[in-house]
């Protein structure tokens, strides 16, 4: 039974990793063929770093993820404090609205925002689809995740300390920044990282709300899959995979250090 279970686990992991392995191997293919392996080469990596479209969209993706995560973290953290103080029906209403972008399928969130933007472009003749609309849509789907990671941290907070600081003469805003924020910083950081990665990974919402001037990396990858095959995608994917692996390893090492301290709490 134990051996059977081991074989089973191995098969599932083989299933999960086989396509990634195939991609990595073919990123070093000297041929342009998708399946014929014609020897080792770094040709596609060189071409990748000379592809201005890809480099530009990578830059846009990173800027977008950073900005949207930052703004969403600020709005979301302040909102969490407000929601935390609420009781009863208003609290339930806020949490219900907060859950809409989380539970709705991406495509519905995407087209609903697209309608809003098109509505304003045609009716008010305001802005055009581009980085601005991308940023707004990313902030919108990021905020709920920040709230969901900050709110639980506030639950364990002793509100007396905040009031004590004010009793001792500290004005509300500095008291908030110096007393409350440090105590919930873990939730804020988690929310920020989550928002950042969600934004970086998003395709569907960007696809509907990007216009032609600002395309994110996933949108560029999608348009590459529709053109004739180029192993550049494999090279790009391999680099992204290595980056993600490095990031996860770092986070994991850091967390295993933390876990030792609080494993039984």
């Amino acid at each position: 039974m134990k051996a059977l279970s081991k074989v089973y686990n191995f098969l599932i992991f083989a299933f999960l990793y086989a396509p990634i392995l195939v991609m990595i191997v073919y990123s070093f293919n000297a041929d342009k063929s998708r399946t014929q392996f014609g020897g080792f080469s770094l040709r596609w990596y060189t071409e990748l770093f000379h592809d201005q479209v890809i480099l530009k969209s990578l830059y846009i993706s990173l800027a977008l993820a950073l900005l949207s995560a930052l703004i969403a973290t600020i709005i979301g953290t302040i909102a969490s404090v407000g929601i935390h103080a609420m009781r009863g029906a208003p609290r339930r209403a806020y949490l219900a609205v907060n859950n809409i972008p989380v539970t709705n399928p991406d495509i519905v969130t995407a087209i609903s925002m697209m309608i809003l933007f098109v509505f304003f472009v045609t009716k008010l003749n305001g802005m055009e689809m581009g980085f601005g609309t991308l940023l707004i849509s990313h902030i919108t789907f990021n905020i709920p995740y920040v709230v969901l990671s900050v709110l639980p941290k506030l639950r364990g907070l002793n509100s007396n300390i905040y009031e004590a600081a004010q009793d001792l003469g500290c004005p509300p805003v500095p008291a908030f920044l110096k007393v409350v924020i440090p105590q919930i910083s873990q939730g804020i950081v988690t929310g920020f990282i989550m928002a950042f990665t969600l934004s970086l990974d998003d395709f569907v919402i960007s696809y509907f709300n990007s216009g032609s001037t600002a395309q994110t990396l996933p949108v560029t990858i999608y348009s590459m899959t529709k053109r004739p095959y180029s192993p550049k995608i494999n090279a790009l994917s391999t680099l992204l995979f290595l980056a993600v692996m490095a990031l996860l390893l770092i986070v994991n090492f850091r967390r295993s250090g933390d876990q030792k301290k609080e494993v039984h709490s």
């Binding site: 999960l16 990634i20 979301g76 407000g82 991406d106 395709f203 990858i221 899959t225």
Partner: protein, 277 residues
């Protein structure tokens, strides 16, 4: 007291305004577009035209349900095996489950094209062994495979999370009381893992039923899902743009998912009311 409530309003203002404009208004616009025609007059035509797409809705539901079922069957044994491992090994295994999740799903789906296509790796291997080769890409089967591959980790993780909370001593107690493997699974593990199974099912079913990318890449335009139709009506890549019908279809999709989530939550309540305690 008055000052306190004022500052509360100030604290909530940015979030309230943002969510109202960018979450609630867009949803209201979807409803508005769904029930009006191009000239803005009230009509039920868009919602009624869903009958024309009942076949597509059915295909989407069918493929998403099949994928969800396969994910559940594949994920449960693995999640259980991981939950019974040594704590240190558990976190390594979970990281291995999560790693592919962090790759963009476009890339993960694209990778399967290389493996499945007519001249792809599987067929070349089969032919090298003297076989005939199969037609795999651009079929419903390929779309299901893509869904299972993409969403399997979303099933493994929540099931693992609930299973890891079940103490080994609980299982041993059942064994001591004479339960065999089947009974331990049916009467101890399964009832206790219902919340994880339910969130796994939701996390797989929702993206599967609403996808348009997996069907485009692995279905090759032969498998049309409801997501493909919605995409077409909004971006008009292969047809006419019609926000009104697109909005109506999105509205139906949204309601469909709300209903299935309500059903799932109902099961969850039944299970927890069913008296494990």
């Amino acid at each position: 007291m008055h000052r306190k409530s004022l500052s509360r309003v100030a604290i909530n203002a940015p979030y309230t305004v943002w969510m109202a404009i960018f979450v609630l208004v867009p949803i209201a616009l979807v409803v508005y577009y769904a029930f009006t025609d191009a000239a803005g007059r009230f009509t039920l035509q868009n919602v009624a035209s869903i009958v024309d797409y009942s076949h597509t809705f059915f295909t989407s539901l069918e493929l998403a349900l099949i994928s969800t079922a396969i994910c559940l069957v594949l994920a449960y044994p693995l999640a259980y095996a991981i939950s019974r491992m040594h704590v240190k090994r558990q976190s390594t295994m979970i990281m291995l489950v999560m790693l592919p999740m962090w790759m963009n799903f476009l890339i993960r789906t694209y990778a399967w094209m290389t493996i499945l296509e007519g001249n792809g790796l599987i067929n070349r291997a089969v032919r090298a062994l003297g076989g005939e080769g199969f037609h795999m890409i651009n079929t419903n089967g390929a779309v299901v495979l893509g869904m299972v591959y993409n969403f399997l980790p979303y099933m493994i993780l929540p099931i693992y999370t609930v299973l890891t909370k079940i103490e080994q001593s609980t299982i041993e107690a059942a064994q001591d009381l004479g339960a065999n493997r089947v009974n331990i699974f049916r009467r101890v593990l399964l009832p206790m893992s219902v919340p994880g199974v339910i969130s796994g099912i939701t996390m797989v079913f929702v993206p599967a039923v609403s996808t348009f990318v997996i069907s485009k890449l692995l279905g090759g335009g032969k498998t049309f899902l409801i997501g493909d139709i919605i995409e077409n009506y909004f971006l008009g890549n292969t047809g006419t743009v019609d926000y009104n019908i697109g909005a109506a279809l999105s509205l139906v999709l949204m309601i469909l998912i709300l209903i299935s989530m309500a059903i799932m939550n109902h099961f969850d309540k039944d299970a927890s009311a069913g008296g494990i305690m």
